[in-house]
């Protein structure tokens, strides 16, 4: 299970990569593995202003659906439209397949998000629970 060092994570299995006042958001390797083959991404609307922990978009596999939550407050400024044609890229390259690019809201913070190490620890606790 890959967990790149350079990203921040949530316990809901999103990753976020910040660049100045914007950020790319995607789902982790663990998330794609749990959901299985992704058939469709219901993309967010560009311009949507979303609060942390609200639903950013949904991912569908043939027999399951998963919601992706905002790790930060922000406005959607771009969506990865390549995924509309090839949603399976999320399975093969979860960290290269960003879902949305957001403009961070003023005062939005990445506080409370997990670093790679913390996320790996968290994944271990999930495994133990099973």
């Amino acid at each position: 299970m890959q967990v790149p060092e350079s990203l921040l994570y949530t316990k809901e299995h999103e990753w976020i990569k910040t660049e100045a006042d914007t950020a790319y958001i995607g789902v982790t390797d663990y998330a794609q593995d749990a959901l299985g083959d992704i058939a469709y991404v219901e993309m967010p609307e560009i311009g949507a202003k979303l609060e942390r922990e609200s639903v950013l978009c949904t991912l569908e596999s043939p027999k399951a659906v998963a919601e992706v939550f905002m790790p930060v407050d922000g406005v959607v400024i771009e969506v990865n439209s390549a995924l509309e044609e090839e949603p399976g890229d999320i399975n093969t390259d979860p960290y290269g397949s960003w879902l949305a690019k957001v403009q961070l809201s003023e005062g939005s913070s990445t506080q409370g998000l997990l670093k790679a190490e913390g996320y790996i620890e968290y994944l271990k606790t999930i495994d133990e629970a099973h």
Binding site: A39, Y40, E60, S61, P62, K63, A64
Partner: protein, 441 residues
């Protein structure tokens, strides 16, 4: 008493022993004693198959079905000719004793005809996709209203008053509990008044019926333009979709959603149900559709095969966020409709539609000498229309019944909604015209 249990006395003993219990009571030990019934059910004793047949034949004989009375009543349910092969095919137990096709490898029969149904319904309504059926037209219209409100993130819809009372009441029930406001367009001469752009508020959709409840062909195209100009979706609705085979389809009139009640396509009226609802839409709304969808795919050998798809919309996966709560729908009635459409073909359905229209016009012409005329004289109508009687319509209906006719639907006062389908014979039409003139004297 009749029984469908296979167990003999010794089977019971063997089953109990195999299950590891000494008595039937032990088997039900998880049911608290306080809840266990102390008395047997107070229902009559069981009866034999022969007795049951007699009992139900007696009950059926208390009815006066359309087989005994000439039916000129439509109003959303139509007495049409049903080809014999429809029943023969639908009574194959491989079809009617199957469950929803969750295991596609052994359900290709069901899935194939659902796929055919979706194709035929989409074609008839002139839209890109259609679902595998909904309960009936009225509840399907309610589902369409909810779909529109979700898609447009608005909580109000504008309806034509000339939608059937069944459908209006059903939509109002659903809307009330979903927090959706329903308003109605004005009605002039039986035709919906196309709203001015300025009057249109934040509606998620406008819905209008064609033919409408009065049999009138509405200008759906114009209403659709008004809807779109206000950022709303257009829903076309029909309880008599034979009209779609001869008239411009909902899709070609600019509707985003087409909803139909397809009872007239090979399904018995059966005192109101089960009938057959369907919803068709543009491809853009495909993932918002309620209900089952069959899709084409490939099996492991690369052969074409069908499977329920886009299931992530549905209640068993998305639970409270599903596009609808529907699970069981009207599959076997969809099979009847598919058989009906195949047996009649495009020419047969158009001929059935034409005959109904022509027979109604013949009937109206026979009334001419009596002075009974159409209420909406300038409107284009299908196989159903409103007559203005010189006597209360409800009284006329009672008198007609005693003469052997189901004479239509009373709209109050002297207004009588009458319908002629292809099933009415020329002799019945002549006799009905004579009877109606007589009771109006």
């Amino acid at each position: 008493m009749g029984s469908y249990l296979p167990h003999s006395e010794s089977d019971y003993k063997q089953l109990l022993a195999g299950a590891g219990y000494e008595s039937i009571d032990g088997l039900f030990s998880s049911v608290p004693e306080s809840l266990r019934l102390k008395e047997p059910l107070a229902l009559p004793n069981g009866i034999s198959e022969q007795e049951a047949l007699a009992m139900f034949k007696n009950m059926a004989a208390m009815n006066s079905p359309t087989a005994e009375l000439a039916c000129f009543l439509g109003a959303g349910t139509y007495d049409r000719i049903i080809p014999t092969a429809v029943g023969a095919i639908a009574s194959r137990s491989e079809f009617y004793t199957a469950y929803t096709p969750y295991q596609p490898e052994i359900s290709q029969g069901t899935l194939s005809y659902i796929f055919e149904f979706q194709s035929m319904a989409a074609e008839l309504l002139g839209l890109e996709v259609a679902n595998a059926s909904l309960y009936d037209g009225p509840s399907a219209l309610a589902e369409a209203v909810m779909l529109a409100c979700r898609a447009k993130k608005r909580k109000a819809v504008l309806l034509s008053q000339a939608i059937s009372p069944e459908a209006k009441r059903t939509v109002e029930t659903y809307a009330h509990f979903s927090g959706i406001t329903v308003s109605y367009m004005g009605l002039d001469g039986g035709i919906s008044c196309v709203p001015d752009k300025g009057e249109l508020g934040e509606y998620a959709a406008i819905a209008a019926a064609s033919p409408n409840f009065y049999g009138i062909i509405e200008n759906i195209e114009e209403i659709a333009q008004a809807a779109h100009s206000a950022g709303a979706l257009m829903i076309g609705y029909s309880e008599n979709p034979h009209a779609m085979a001869v008239l411009k389809s909902f899709g070609s009139c600019g509707c985003d959603i087409g909803v139909a009640e397809m009872q007239g396509f090979g399904i018995e009226p059966y005192f109101g149900g089960p009938h057959l609802g369907v919803m068709a839409s543009t491809k853009a709304l495909m993932r918002s559709l309620p209900g089952r969808l069959a899709g084409a795919s490939l099996d492991a050998d690369g052969n074409r095969a069908f499977i329920l798809t886009l299931q992530a919309r549905e209640q068993h996966i998305r639970r409270e966020k599903a596009t609808s709560n529907i699970c069981t729908n009207q599959s076997l009635n969809a099979l009847k409709a598919v058989c009906y459409m195949s047996l009649l073909g495009p020419d047969g359905i158009r001929e059935a539609a034409r005959q109904g229209m022509a027979k109604l016009r013949l009937f109206i012409s026979l009334l001419e000498p009596s002075g009974i005329t159409l209420k909406h004289k300038s409107a284009a109508f299908f196989d159903e229309a409103v007559l203005e009687l010189p006597v209360p319509a409800s009284e006329a209906l009672e008198s007609l019944l005693s003469l052997g006719f189901i004479g239509g639907y009373s709209l109050g006062g002297g207004d009588l909604l009458v319908c002629a389908t292809e099933k009415r014979t020329e002799a019945e039409i002549q006799a009905f015209a004579k009877a109606l003139i007589e009771v109006c004297k």
